[in-house]
């Protein structure tokens, strides 16, 4: 039982981590919080529902969801962040992205209604499971886990090993210096938004498949928690967001197991406040000069 809950927690945590990666990528490059991110995650669920309803097989639905979410991310960057790039503009950027999020929620509710919308997947696909050392695991959860871990691994490789990743890290370090060395800062920022939003959309799709529903409230209830996780793991720190996501996912699953689930939400946010006050570089971050910036 306990082991099953821990596995549930890891699956849940991998979705948190996937969203948190997006928050932290954007924060790393721009030093800004993207409050529209959680709503792109929410729309990802609806995009998956819509494309499945139109008869797309899951891989196609995956590509459609990721692609459209990524494009929405480009829109968010252009409308909400392009003009507010100065270091002092973080309040303005937070407000504009919040406003974009409001519009997204309202439009989603106008199109799909305020009630949860079921995803049209055959039941045998959703409940098929395997026995594994006496533990019953639903296959779709394993698939979600594999998918999100795989995506995050690819993201890690891209950021750590490729030329594009080097540009991203350069811009994160200092946009001006990167520009002097010939990096196209605007293009890199756009790419980061595309990647971050595509990941959020995929996470939304994963949640819709796992729960069977897409809901216009998941942005605030589920997506925003990833923001706290990002801060717990260290703002701008990909590894921290990953570990923080898994940690919170497992703890939350255990909290539900022990019937204190209601307070799990509060605990996450209080823990975030505690981390920000005591260890602003994040739980897993090294205390370097880069991380202590305000």
């Amino acid at each position: 039982m306990l082991l099953e809950q821990i596995i549930n927690g890891i699956v849940l945590g991998s979705m948190y981590a996937l969203i948190a990666q997006g928050y932290t990528l954007v924060f790393g490059v721009l030093d800004k919080l993207n409050f529209a991110h959680s709503e792109i995650f929410m729309l990802g669920g609806f995009l998956a529902v819509a494309s499945v309803a139109l008869g797309a097989p899951l891989p196609v639905a995956f590509l459609v969801t990721a692609g459209i979410s990524g494009l929405l991310g480009l829109m968010v960057e252009f409308v909400g962040f392009r003009k507010f790039r100065s270091r002092d503009a973080h309040i303005t950027a937070a407000l504009s992205s919040f406003a974009i999020g409001l519009v997204m929620i309202d439009l989603a509710q106008k199109i799909w209604g305020t009630e949860a919308v079921a995803i049209a997947l055959p039941d045998e696909m959703r409940i098929a499971s395997i026995e594994f050392f006496g533990i019953r695991i639903v296959l779709i959860k394993l698939a979600i886990l594999a998918l999100s871990l795989g995506l995050m691994f690819v993201l890690h490789l891209v950021v750590a090993r490729t030329g594009l990743g080097r540009s991203i890290r350069a811009v994160a370090e200092s946009a001006a210096d990167a520009a002097l060395y010939g990096v196209n800062v605007t293009r890199v920022t756009q790419l980061v938004f595309f990647i971050a939003s595509a990941l959020a959309g995929v996470a939304g799709m994963a949640l819709a498949i796992r729960t069977g529903y897409a809901n216009s409230e998941t942005g605030f209830s589920f997506g925003l928690k990833a923001l706290a996780i990002m801060a717990i793991g260290g703002m701008g720190d990909l590894r921290g967001a990953f570990l923080g996501g898994l940690l919170v996912g497992v703890l939350e699953a255990l909290a539900f197991q022990w019937a204190v689930g209601q307070l799990a939400d509060v605990a996450v946010w209080l823990f975030m406040i505690f981390v920000l006050l005591v260890r602003p570089q994040g739980l897993f971050g090294a205390s370097g000069a880069k991380d202590t910036r305000a």
Binding site: H90, V103, S174
Partner: protein, 295 residues
Amino acid sequence: MMQDYIMFTGVNILLAWSVYIILMSGSLSFANGAFMLIGAYVSGVLTVKFGVPLLVAAPIAGAATFLFGVLVGFPALRTRGIYLILVTVGIAVSVRGVAESIPYIGGVQGFSGMSGGNPWHVVALVFGVGAALWAVSRSPLQRILDAVREDELAAATLGINIVHVKLTCFGIGAGLAAVAGSFYAHYMLHVTPDGFGILVSVYIVLYVVLGGTNNLWGSAVGAAIMTLLPELVRGVAQWRPTVFGLTIIALLLLRPDGLLAFRIPTVPTVRPPGKARPSGQGQDVARTDETPEQR
């Protein structure tokens, strides 16, 4: 109906000012919905369970929330800018969650039994607070606030106790939100923690942004417009978040200081009044070249 308009407009103006007061010292608070919740519940418990009259309970709730704001604000204001925004979001979510899990005040079902919220008390309060804020804007205090907001380091070298200033503003903002929450709760008769979620806090902040962040009339006008417009224009009510969101985005892009962007001059200045220096919000893309280390 008319009473509703007066009540909600008044409460929202007070809430907008509660954010504006905190913003004057350069901090942005997404926690004012939570402060409103605390005010509503504290005063509600006092009037319903202890029979205290509302006009006594509301100031007590305000004072209690002032203390709460100072207690939370003291560590929170150590963090700046983006971190503070996150901390206030955390406060908003946590306070609501805690309220939902206390059976004494009704938990998720909410709390009822309050009565006697009078719109004219709120109107009187709006005039009182407005007059006080106006007096502050004409006084040297405003220059201290301006200094802290625009450049903390420079303000500190001038001998201004930044922590003191910011904390006072944070506490007063929290207290004002709580008083507004008390009157709101006693007018609505029934409140739920869900009704003071993060969205409420966001709306309050956006009232201020809509009206203009650098003077007190802007906040009031923004709150009044956003409260009354959906009631008076039929189509707007249905599309309220979209209309509101798009307006805010357009405003931030085209007129970053808000609709009523002027500053009341406290002293004759060399720069022309009305064209205040950039209020530290956006636009000047040229300054991206400042590296983190320079701060």
